[in-house]
């Protein structure tokens, strides 16, 4: 365990940023978000960032390749760049877990090379949550906010940051941090962990259960009468999917430039009416069907295909952001309530 006095933290950030791009939460007009560190940047310890670190690995919009076309001919240009190492500081336990969930999608064969490359080069420095919010329910998904995964795990106390390297990649960061840290035992970090665990236990959503859900429950929930009620006032916007750290649906599109065509991909949303539209029909014509798809995917389909792992980490962003305050917690409670009858 290493200790960095808070007075040294900016120096540590500066040293890391010297070696590689460093992203960390800073306050913007709409709250905290991951931004690239530059001199004078003020790290924000707010729980949680408006959007997760998903953008750094799977950007909302990214170019995939380019084409040069002339007459009947086409030339394909591989525009992929070798990614450089970068560090992401202050990632919460839920968001670390969200990347593990995205890994299951993008790193399964055939690997998505765009994501894989960023994942390979990104060093995750996680941070235990001293002040979780009322919207947090990561514990329901077996996530321990007091002890996040990641390449390096950090704990913050009033006067210091405690760091523990977990992986080889993490050691790269620890080496850069070396001038600003001292060796210490884990007493302070353990005490902080305990404090956090006590807070987690009394969060309003602490007793939200996931037992009712999981693979093999399609028949049980698909035709539930609850879907009509739950989706009744859904606007069909993409807010929940775009702020969700585990939503990964995408679209692939082309745009014409002055001298060719660029094929790019962008986030898409199963909430959108055109998502599944084909030239000759649409298999999800109503918002009820689209709404159901989103939650069935997170609570039933994804665990069915991924060893029981849910595609939700309880980060609470959909609770904070949905324009009509409908969210996965209300869905789970309604479906479960019906089951218990």
């Amino acid at each position: 365990m290493l200790k960095c006095n808070l007075s040294q933290l900016d120096n540590l950030f500066a040293a890391v940023a010297e070696a590689m791009p460093l992203y960390l939460p800073t306050q913007g007009k709409n709250g905290a978000n991951y931004t690239k560190w530059q001199a004078g940047a003020v790290w924000s310890n707010t729980c949680n960032t408006q959007k997760g670190p998903k953008d750094l690995f799977f950007p909302q919009s990214e170019d995939l390749m380019a084409f040069k076309t002339q007459g009947k001919t086409i030339e394909i240009i591989d525009t992929r760049n070798e990614a450089e190492d970068f560090a992401v500081f202050g990632v919460r336990a839920c968001d670390v877990k969200s990347l593990e969930i995205l890994d299951r999608v993008f790193l399964s064969e055939p690997k998505d090379s765009y994501y894989a490359s960023r994942r390979e080069h990104g060093i995750i420095i996680s941070l235990a949550c001293n002040r979780p919010t009322e919207n947090c329910f990561c514990g329901s998904f077996g996530i321990d906010a007091s002890s996040p995964n990641g390449d390096v795990t950090c704990w913050l106390t009033e006067d210091a940051l405690y760091l523990r390297g977990n992986t080889e990649k993490g050691e790269k960061f620890m080496a850069l941090a070396a001038p600003f840290v001292t060796e210490c035992d884990d007493t302070a970090a353990e005490a902080q962990k305990e404090k956090i665990q006590k807070i987690m236990a009394r969060l309003p959503l602490a007793d939200l259960k996931t037992d009712a859900f999981g693979g093999g429950k399609t028949e049980e929930f698909f035709n539930s009468p609850q879907w009509a009620k739950l989706s009744e006032s859904c606007l069909g916007c993409g807010t929940c999917t775009f702020v969700c750290p585990t939503c990964q649906c995408y679209d692939i599109r082309d745009y014409k430039t002055n001298d060719g065509v660029v094929r790019y991909r962008c986030w898409d949303s199963c909430m959108y009416s055109e998502f599944t539209r084909m030239a000759h029909g649409n298999n999800r014509n109503s918002q009820k069907e689209r709404f159901r798809q989103r939650f069935m995917h997170k609570l039933v389909y994804f665990p069915e295909n991924n060893d029981g792992v849910f595609s939700c980490v309880g980060c609470g962003r959909c609770l904070a952001k949905c324009p009509i305050s409908m969210n996965i917690v209300k869905v789970m409670k309604a479906l479960e309530g019906e089951q218990n009858g």
């Binding site: 729980c47 002040r131 979780p132 006032s233 959108y272 209300k330």
Partner: protein, 332 residues
């Protein structure tokens, strides 16, 4: 604090369900916390008793739901509308978008709605409970033993701070007293934008709109956006898009939308309320309202259900807009 309470509304709605005047009630449903209400339809007195709520967190404008609900309902649907919501209702009537005969409108007074984001800015994250008292809000956080007192004014949504009217312009019955149209100074914000140099203004909108994630919530909630198929959702339009190919496109989306609702936007502020990225989208629309006022005379969309919007009401005396409102760089 709202002057009419939940119980009064539940009693009235239950009575109207009971005597068959209406077959359903469109209102707000209690959530997990004290502030996360969801628009919902209730069909029985029991459902109302179990979940209906009206308080300072019922900001959602229910008028747009009538688009679908008045078309599909058997009988009438009761809808509770706040003063500013009734302007949207009238505008939808003007555009023949809702079946008036299937709606039963009860006007509910509104003393301004609280915004949980404004409250968070004062109390910080981790709101365990919000008590609505005569004197203000008492916010209990997860961390501090002493609750934080927040005045209604400080808790209020920005759009309510410049409320244009406490008057209900459409209703079948009214709860509480008739209010007045207010002198809201809401165009002061537009004047600030107009006072900027073109470069400053460009930088301002660049900064705001660059946060857009194209979730389309502003469009989907907007009572003036009622196209059966939005051009931006239509794969055959050539402009269908979910995320920008370049950062220019987000601006275009919002500017095109502002043009499309110009003269029809009632300034209800829902676009800014729902924006997950906190972009003051209503300012674009308000600028159009201000320009229309200056060009064609004072006009409030939705004030009545039978007025002709100035932009579809050509007269030979109409001035050239460019003679009235100067914009952009002066190329002279």
């Amino acid at each position: 604090m709202q002057t009419v309470n939940t119980q009064t509304l539940i009693e009235r709605a239950s009575a109207l369900l009971q005597d068959g005047t209406v077959s359903a009630v469109l209102g707000w449903k209690r959530g997990e916390f004290d502030y996360d209400m969801t628009p919902a339809v209730f069909t029985t007195a029991e459902e109302l008793a179990a979940g209906f709520v009206y308080n300072d967190f019922c900001g959602a404008n229910l008028s747009k739901y009538l688009l679908k609900k008045t078309r599909e309902i058997q009988g009438k649907i009761l809808v509770f509308l706040k003063p500013c919501d009734t302007y949207s209702f009238n505008q939808l009537l003007t555009e023949h978008r809702i079946h008036r005969e299937n709606a039963y409108v009860i006007g509910v007074p509104c003393s301004g709605m609280a915004d949980i984001h404004s409250i968070r800015k004062i109390t910080g994250e981790g709101i365990a409970r919000v008590e609505l008292t005569e004197g203000g809000l008492l916010v209990h956080t997860l961390y501090d033993d002493a609750p934080v007192a927040v005045s209604y004014e400080d808790a209020m949504a920005d759009r309510c701070k410049t409320c244009k009217s406490k008057k209900h312009v459409a209703y079948d019955e009214l709860l509480g007293e008739e209010g007045d149209v207010l002198d809201s100074h809401r165009f002061d914000e537009v004047a600030k934008l107009e006072a900027m140099t073109p470069d400053e203004r460009f930088a301002f909108w660049q900064g705001e709109l660059s946060r857009c994630i194209r979730c389309n919530a502003c469009r989907d909630v907007c009572p003036a956006c009622t196209c059966e198929k939005c051009v931006f959702d239509n794969p055959d339009s050539g402009v269908e898009n979910k995320a920008p190919g370049g950062d220019f496109e987000e601006k275009m989306f919002h500017i095109i939308r502002a043009f499309h609702v110009a003269g029809r936007c009632t300034d209800c502020g829902e676009c800014s309320r729902v924006c997950p990225q906190d972009i003051p989208l209503h300012l674009l629309n308000r600028k159009f309202i201000s320009d229309i006022n200056k060009t064609y005379g004072e006009y409030q969309a939705g004030e009545t259900a039978d007025q002709r919007p100035p932009l579809v009401n050509f007269t030979q005396n109409d001035p050239e807009p460019s003679d009235v409102v100067k914009g952009g760089h002066d190329h002279a």
